[in-house]
Amino acid sequence: MELSGGHIIVQCLKDEGVEFVFGYPGGSVLHIYDAIFHQDEVKHILVRHEQGATHSADAYARATGKPGVVLVTSGPGATNAVTGIATAYMDSIPMVIISGQVPSPVIGSDAFQEVDTVGITRPCVKHNFLVKDVNDLAETIKKAFYLATTGRPGPVLVDVPKDITDPNIKVPYKYPKKIHMRSYNPVVVGHKGQIKRAVEVLLAAQRPVIYSGGGVILGEGHKELIELTQMLGYPITNTLMGLGAYPATDKQFIGMLGMHGTYEANMAMHESDVILAVGARFDDRVTGKLAEFCPYAKIIHIDVDPSSISKTVRVDIPIVGEVKPVLEHMIEHIKESKLKPSKPALEAWWQLIQSWRDVNCLEYDRGSLFIKPQFVIEQLYEVTKGDAYVTSDVGQHQMYAAQYYKFDKPRRWINSGGLGTMGFGLPAAIGVKLAFPDSDVACVTGEASIQMCIQELSTALQYNTPVKIINLNNRYMGMVRQWQEFSYQSRYSQSYMDTIPEFVKLAEAYGHVGIRVEKPADVRPALQEAFALKDRTVFLDFITDRTENVYPMIEAGKGHHDMKLRVAPGTPMGRELS
């Protein structure tokens, strides 16, 4: 079969089993778009801004586990995609981005819509390619999918000059079934000796904590994580990226940890003597002040990426490998081991944890006349029976969603954890809804974040992706305001917008339903109404308490035991441990 470059790209996507391509046309990719026109197997989703394309593809990948695919033109098309590429990179999301480039002969001449895409994206992709010969095109795309989806996943970009897709130049097409790269051999199975050592330390623990992250979800290791945690009876905490890997409603789950983690999770980390870190990377929002991080703990760390190990926190027992096979091995070893976890020690440990739980750190003022953002999330959880896909933007609302929506399944909580990209939520919701049209998809956002990619409301109409937008409208950039209240004596510099659109009218202008909710009593009915409108995108504008803050909070430069709480904890804490 002889094909031109444009058709090769489309054929590669078909052979790769790609369902959707999120993109936006332009001069350098016109040949590719013409090839797309000739078929309907690969569906193209026309976004309104390239950033939206990357977030939709990214969220599609997060929800399905399959790589997201993006197609953008050269120059501004590529630069607009950079934020979304960096977002995917920070959270290790498999994504393939095909970008047009000016024709090879004019590269380097500052041609119209020319930018050094490979250079600009280099620090925020797992790898990238510039295709120089149409004969290399299919293999390069195969490599891109292979790299994006194996080892520690990530975005891979393929830059394709326009002459490579020339319809008049046809070459034999063959899509490689397998690919081997001598310079790329990710480790899969963990070191047996290390796993054995880890199990010994784990079973001898007096105050253990399992701390798991996004790697468990990416590596499909949640079943093994649940089995391991329940056979040991140890407390488990999840990172922001790891929520859903372990069911939040289970009694062994002590909540999210880190800057806005629960009191019990952070205190347990601080007082623990053994930590099993699984697919987590000791991010600064998790650790707080490094010098005070888990001062009494031996640390076991499972990660597929060797460079994640001992990057910020020195690890005692590193295990490089994919989470799933490593956990399987650990489970086997635990079953075979004569050692058993110490019952009295574990009971004492759970008692202590219970005293921290009794602080009730997520309690808030339920009698308020204003709508409390926490209340909206709790109601959202109930109305959707805890089974919705929840995407979020970045800020206070993101933390409320993480704290109050109890995720019991992996891949349900879709947020930009590493890069913290405002504007992520709405295009992400669209990507998820395309993947799972029969599931409820909610985008939890705020009036500042939502405006960063609001144009995608138009995409939502075109492709009939009825998502529900939960706008927690406090008329502030809430998280910025909170930091300004705590650290800048309430000098609210530029964290307030004097003009905010009427979101109901805006939603209607885009062809959707808008509902404004001002009273706590109206929250639940409004949510019920919105989710009952199965075939409509609904914009719920909740006018929330403008002064509400996210608690608990570990302020920058403080340790896990040094949390700001809504109410002073009436329980003894500290080192009264044997």
Binding site: V118, G119, P123, S183, D305, S307, S310, K311, R314
Partner: protein
């Protein structure tokens, strides 16, 4: 501590910028860097001198290994090795100093590879410290130009860095 990291890397355009970009993005320093294709034209050998404590060097090697174009690498400073640097120096040689300069070049086992009525070009290889010593043996005003390759190196013994 000073480390010499020797890297086998795919000989592809942009590969060098991935290494250089990694160092600047993560705040590691590069003291010197040399690169050239190997006997296998599809591979380049890159020698990089950097400084840092053990944790930093561990991260540097891990991050380098993570680059898809990097095939293999070693830290030469971990084991006995040979280190050499090439230097070309252009020196002012008025009649009264010519003999003196020639003697210095002989002492340091260099070679005079170009001579005019008023200047020599001296070629010299060796440990970077030897090259430093040679330069310091001259008055600053008599040195017209110094070109150094940066160190490159190879481990001692039978073992080598190859595919």
């Amino acid at each position: 501590m000073r480390h010499i990291i020797s890297i086998l890397i795919e000989n592809e355009s942009g590969a060098l910028s991935r290494v250089a970009g990694l160092f600047s993005a993560r705040g590691y320093n590069i003291e010197s860097l040399t690169v050239a294709p190997t006997e296998d034209a599809s591979l380049s050998r890159l020698t990089l001198v950097t400084r840092g404590n053990d944790e930093v060097i561990e991260q540097i090697t891990k991050q380098l290994n993570k680059l898809v174009d990097v095939v293999r690498l070693i830290d030469l400073a971990d084991a006995p090795h040979i280190e050499r640097e090439l230097m070309l120096v252009k020196i002012k040689t008025p009649l009264e100093t010519r003999e003196e300069v020639k003697r210095m070049v002989d002492i340091f086992r260099g070679k005079i590879v170009d001579a005019t009525a008023t200047s020599f070009v001296v070629e010299m290889t060796g440990q970077p410290s030897k090259l430093d010593a040679f330069i310091h043996g001259f008055d600053e005003s008599s040195i017209i130009e110094v070109v150094r390759s940066g160190p490159t190196g190879i481990s001692r013994g039978e073992k080598g860095l190859h595919l």
